[in-house]
Symmetry: C2
Subunit: 603 residues, 2 copies
Amino acid sequence: MAQSIADRRDQDFVLHEMLSVADLAKHEDFQDFNKKTVDMVITEARNLAIKEVLPTQKEGDEHGCTLNNGKVTIPECFRKPFKLFCEGEWIAMCDDPEYGGQGMPKVLSIAAGEMFTGANCAFMMYPGLTHGAGKIVEEFGSEAQKKKYLKNLYTGKWAGTMCLTEPEAGSDVGALTTTAKKNDDGTYSIAGNKIFISGGDHDLTENIIHPVLARIEGAPAGTKGISLFLVPKFKINDDGTPGESNDVVCTGLEEKMGIHGNATAALAFGSKGNCIGELIGEENKGMRAMFIMMNEARLGVGMQGFGFATTSYINSVNYAKERVQGVNLMNMFDADPKPVAIINHPDVKRQLLSMKANVDGMRTLLYYTGFLFDKAKTAATPEEKEKWEGLIELLTPVVKSYCTDRSFEVCAQGIQIYGGYGFIKEYPQEQLLRDCKITSIYEGTNGIQAMDLLGRKLGLKKGKPFMDLLGEMNKTVAAAKEIEGLEAMADILQNAINKLGEVAMYMGATAMSANVLHAFASALPFLDATGDVCMAWVELWRAVVAAPKIAKAKKKDVAFYQGQVKTAEYFLSFIIPATLGKMEAIKSNITAIMDMPDDAFAG
Amino acid sequence: MAQSIADRRDQDFVLHEMLSVADLAKHEDFQDFNKKTVDMVITEARNLAIKEVLPTQKEGDEHGCTLNNGKVTIPECFRKPFKLFCEGEWIAMCDDPEYGGQGMPKVLSIAAGEMFTGANCAFMMYPGLTHGAGKIVEEFGSEAQKKKYLKNLYTGKWAGTMCLTEPEAGSDVGALTTTAKKNDDGTYSIAGNKIFISGGDHDLTENIIHPVLARIEGAPAGTKGISLFLVPKFKINDDGTPGESNDVVCTGLEEKMGIHGNATAALAFGSKGNCIGELIGEENKGMRAMFIMMNEARLGVGMQGFGFATTSYINSVNYAKERVQGVNLMNMFDADPKPVAIINHPDVKRQLLSMKANVDGMRTLLYYTGFLFDKAKTAATPEEKEKWEGLIELLTPVVKSYCTDRSFEVCAQGIQIYGGYGFIKEYPQEQLLRDCKITSIYEGTNGIQAMDLLGRKLGLKKGKPFMDLLGEMNKTVAAAKEIEGLEAMADILQNAINKLGEVAMYMGATAMSANVLHAFASALPFLDATGDVCMAWVELWRAVVAAPKIAKAKKKDVAFYQGQVKTAEYFLSFIIPATLGKMEAIKSNITAIMDMPDDAFAG
């Protein structure tokens, strides 16, 4: 069975039939991106993903990364796709063409990203982190820094990382102890140890640029005293070429559950007293920069999780249609019943539909969130721009946490569909689950995302973004009420939106009261409920687009459009009743969790 | 941080305070098992598990099993605990002392099993499968076969396996193609290939006895023509010692996601035409024997899944109490807030409580199901015996599927509590998740369990076992209504029981109607709802036992008993509302899944 990745028909449905992304071409920023170009970009990304990236997935997992005599070796098979990524200018898809970017709409980079990360996430982290480091330089660097670093990063000549975590400073970044001491020439001497640095060392590129969080001598404790520095692996000569070593030493690689192809490094900066960095942005404002970057990175991690899920789903559908095992329940008392493909077994079909509902819904939610960046960029008024930016801020923690949690579940179902073969390394499903697990942890654990939603985003601008989100959902309810056959689903969504509004009010008020800890104990269930209702919304939106097309669709599209309506029906009538129960639970007993005595937990 | 396993205090609570297992000693079959003996057995099992088995967990995973020149090597560190298992007579805890068994109550073997599998499941599969093969001989063997095999298996001198699966016959065992040809001396020549044979080859023991499903030449197709054979790795000499090779060849070992320490073998029987087996039980009645064995094996797999969960939970609690990171939300605006242990963070506490509720609930449900065997054995009347046996039949698929699915979720949370460290092999959590995944697949996937519940067990004896189960639950409701502070929870459980009864009636009727496929599409959600209500029942039962003791408890027990009540409160008020929603969903749209066109699934 040939392996594949994302469902192209559904990608096109979201891009063109739901979001009409080609309309962006009316705006001068995106005038080159008409439908034809959009389709070409997707096709090229798909070809690259299937032909060059996907074949490295298993080999990357098996080979992994090794550290010998201070030298990190990553899977050899990554070199070719990395070269093709650079040549095809895929690293900086949406960024400024002046610095090597392609100036694409963000939504396209998400669609391409689904395919790339679904083909091999561990590989994709090298170009992905390189882009992130470049973005830091683009957003916060001086003109000189842009000139020195930016094009080299955006074109993949150099790679990048992100150096935050230390052994005693993970979720609590403010506890970090890496120091920066100002030198007479304006540079800083960096000293400290970072861990869990993805793509932290390798020889894919001639240099690696590390954005490093550190505390300048005498700066305040906590997050208020953190600055951001650019620290290259090799010092950069005056002519821009890499020179001598900058005293950044890889002291170890982590043995991990998954993403084996990515080198997760422990890095020692300045252990010989010879590590030089340059400040980027203002002193003590490093966390601000990091937060701005992190929002985009979190959307990216949601997309990574989703990439695993979409691949696992496609594999499962293909397997369930090809694998013959057992007889149809309706024929089991026949004299000599023929075995059938397992998609015919009701429980297998249920699982596939559950996977499809999750995958298709997440695709819409992720593409939509990416599209909001493009809508903000092309907004006609400041009010409109503010609205879309508010939605981005609000949806970011939801997308990161909800999509990574649901994707992990989808990957587990993807193993289950394969039965015993799902547990065997010869088949792709178990790797997808192992790789996927990291996405609920890094870029802020999902618990941190839930705190962000409740503590920062829900009350943002007096709750306007949250109300805007419910408003967008209500538009879909109104549209569905006008379409024959969707009325009952419109009522279900309407009811869920109202309940979500009530719970949000309750949670917001509780978080401001003496019961603040109780509110935060329900932060993740609240985020999950928000995500469920978002999914119900986009599923119904799909049905609103698809239902009127069924009657006049081309033959090959009939089942596709019917499937949209049926999937919405499944999600709204099968999943949302439990969501309503979860929302009731949050409101009915907010103190159940924190009242538990610590000593009652056995140890 | 020293690793540990099951919570001893809670084990004692279930054994003595909930189930009063020492009362079994009133019956002559268990007269030796008074409270002192019970406690001694648990203590000894615990010591063996912690001191000898647990230290092999990581090494077994890393070393794995290898096949070189036809010889299978398993982790060397397994030899010592296997020897201790044999010496301590732990292989056949509950079996007939005449053949080397210990004659213990079944509930004790479950409690010991929690600790052993929680310490290293991949290791435990060797003695576990050996016991299973012995049980087949005990139940179905002739006196001569018992004499030849049984003691050698129960004492671990020889090991055992279970050979069902073939490449084209997994869930559909009836499709198998291994053949048996009767020889003049009454033996059979066996020929065929089996895959996924756990503990299929190794040199822990001087011989391995393979119970093999095969079809005698001329027997009917499907499950009706399957017979069971005993096939030793080495032919057995007349003096009972192992002799020449019996033409059973290990042709490969699977590379798996987890349980690396167990050799999952592909075995070729009779490839040189020289493999001899002896029929056990009647011709063509192999599946019946297999089903009887399988019921016990399924309870065992539920316990395995649980073993991973209980270990992951204990690790998580210890980690959350020791790991200092981040400040208390209440103090975050202080001038210089001190970081705290992460158990103080509301979302961490929520996760620990969720894990605890699942783990403690599953412990009760598993021990209870084991205890039902003992109650059946010691029943005063045939009616009573029939009642307990009916409950065992009913609960077996629930325990297998529900406990393995929930345990996988607990193991995923166990990674999340550790943050980035959870993803690293240096810490135990990721292995527990990888190992746990197999439990939802083998001994019948969880989808198969759901079919068993709906298709066979729900309607058993016109539904009497199901009604008996609801009756046992209602006893707890009645008791809770009499205890101050538990009344509201009693009402919640009462409502859930009533809803479950309604859904069961609806599902039973639908499964007998033309909508049979629709019913089976909801079989797993129905099993899950049944499991949720079982958990709510045992959580409230815990509270019923604990609440009256709080006032007069010793100081060290106060938090423990309070914790029972709070955990019940959490489960009933936080989890059950979603369960009610799931039950509503099953009834409201039974056709949503099967109406989905196959072609609407992308491939």
